[in-house]
Symmetry: C2
Subunit: 328 residues, 2 copies
């Protein structure tokens, strides 16, 4: 594997939307605002603040407008939100969102299960959202689910994935996020898919979104970056799960991936110590153990103390080398 | 990342030594024998059965002779054990071990802390073990700790690592295991170190031994295999930890790594379903949660059922497409 040679990468935080929406208790609005204000200073390219879905469907994010209205928007950071339909788009425009993130699945069974619509119905609804965004000159990113496989259908053919990207590209979206929705991606598959889409659509910004469900989140991130992907979704503490694998971990953890990429010589633009601290704050808010490793282990050069009796051990060893015996 | 193209890899299981020695309660001898007999049929190149250290120092493995005497030794599988000194070597020879695995650290502070000797003292003790092995024509493998960094000293210079390998190579050992003792390795470092040692010592068998302490165990495995390493230590369920990072995970989990390598097209020779089953057995024996992902998530093409009301969802969606409205 090659050194990153300071290649600039762009990191998106999704804990505040993709993570918080899965939590069983409501995170207070004040805490969300304070967390996002902290994150804004850590070097992120983009923060997915909330979701403008129905407050009944996702009560955890019912305070989307208030959060967007109260955070301090730092120049250079893109504040995005999930926008499912025209009603959500109008709400997002009211609070002057920087980008719409729209979602559908490349698997018919997953789309029906998750969004209760056929893929054609989703596309037609999202086409209305894109139209509205374009009138308001707000860029649109499409998060395409299950591009590395569907937990119900199995493999999703590359041609199917390319077909949906074609249709969104024709509508003039700015970017596509390749979502490994339930952690089915593996490195050589990531390499093939990422290269195929980047070659076919040089004008689109591609983002990789991996889950650590089968422990391959970090290696898939390296496969994507080596294939040329420069934008990555991550979630502090690895929060945000998937409903199809009980007990399994979900999103890759921002602090773990950033630590690795920095070790490898990539320029992530991120403040790693700040991330570890913010992950602790996320842990406090969600009130459960995090799946990330770095808050427990520290960065790789974290120094640990030798045993308390180290001086004595060393002295005895030295005495043995000199042929003397030290008695306890 | 490149497809493995059926490149043959050789997998070593260390749970029964490196894992069990860390457990707080004694695993019954019958269970150890039954587990190893199961593992012998799963495709491993090598199984680290036990340790011939003092029963007082590691009571968890005080039954080493009995376990070695009772397992069914399958032709083609190398049954190895940790041998710390001449006394241990004699015990290991008594039970006709296939290989000695000897251990020292490339970090002076770590060696003193862990083995209570200077590195020179360790080397001199191990030289006696090697002599005994050579007289008995038993091959010796050296597990070199901290080659990717020391939790107390920080970086361990490449020249230091090469210097110790030089000295063991001169003594005619068969192989060297590059141990990432506390999970400090990162992919580009793995690439550099593995290529350096394989170029310098074409006659030695190198094994990579990674920990998942900072979530990089799988990506480091890929870095090693892409650098040309073909032998890997792994631990079922990821058991076996490191005392320097409380709460952190330890060894990479056999089932997680084998699953990834098989997805990538490598020939591991392993029975993956058998491994997942054996990991469940390990979990039952150690009586605590495992850090591995695959026993929870299943292999990547594990099929999940759609929601219970899927037929109804699909029917309503179809009706909407036909312009009809279905009422609940």
């Amino acid at each position: 594997m090659k050194n990153g040679n300071n290649t600039r990468l762009f990191i998106n935080e999704v804990a505040t939307r993709d993570g918080f929406q899965m939590e069983s208790h409501f995170i207070p609005t004040d805490d969300k605002v304070a967390l996002i204000d902290t994150l804004s200073g850590l070097g992120y390219a983009k923060i997915e603040v909330t979701s403008f879905t129905s407050p009944k469907a996702i009560p955890a994010l019912r305070d989307g407008e208030e959060v967007m209205g109260r955070i301090a928007r730092r120049p250079g950071v893109v504040y995005t939100a999930l926008v499912p339909n025209v009603r959500g788009a109008e709400r997002a425009l009211d609070v002057k969102i920087d980008e719409f993130n729209i979602v559908m699945s490349t698997s018919e069974t997953h789309n029906l299960s998750n969004l209760r619509m056929t893929r054609e119905q989703s596309f037609s609804q999202l086409a209305g959202v894109i139209e509205l965004a374009q009138r308001a000159t707000v860029p649109v990113n499409v998060s395409l689910s299950c591009v590395f496989g569907c937990p119900m259908e199995g493999e999703v053919p590359l041609e199917t994935v390319l077909g949906w990207i074609d249709r969104f590209a024709e509508r003039g979206v700015a970017g596509i996020t390749l979502c490994d929705t339930t952690g089915m991606a593996y490195p050589t598959q990531v390499d093939v898919l990422c290269k195929a889409v980047m070659e076919r659509y040089p004008e689109l910004d591609f983002t990789a979104h991996f889950h650590n469900t089968r422990a391959m989140g970090l290696v898939n991130s390296v496969a994507a970056v080596e294939a040329g992907v420069r934008r990555f979704d991550m979630s502090l503490g690895g929060i945000g799960g998937c409903p199809y694998a009980p007990g399994a971990t979900g999103n890759v953890a921002t602090e773990d991936v950033v630590h690795m990429l920095q070790c490898m010589g990539y320029d992530t633009g991120m403040d790693l110590d700040g991330l570890i601290h913010a992950a602790g704050e996320v842990g406090r808010l969600v009130q459960h153990e995090l799946s990330s490793q770095l808050p427990r282990a520290g960065h790789r050069l974290t120094r640990h103390q030798p045993p308390a009796d180290f001086a004595e051990i060393a002295e005895r060893a030295a005495a043995r080398s000199e042929g003397k015996e030290v008695r306890a």
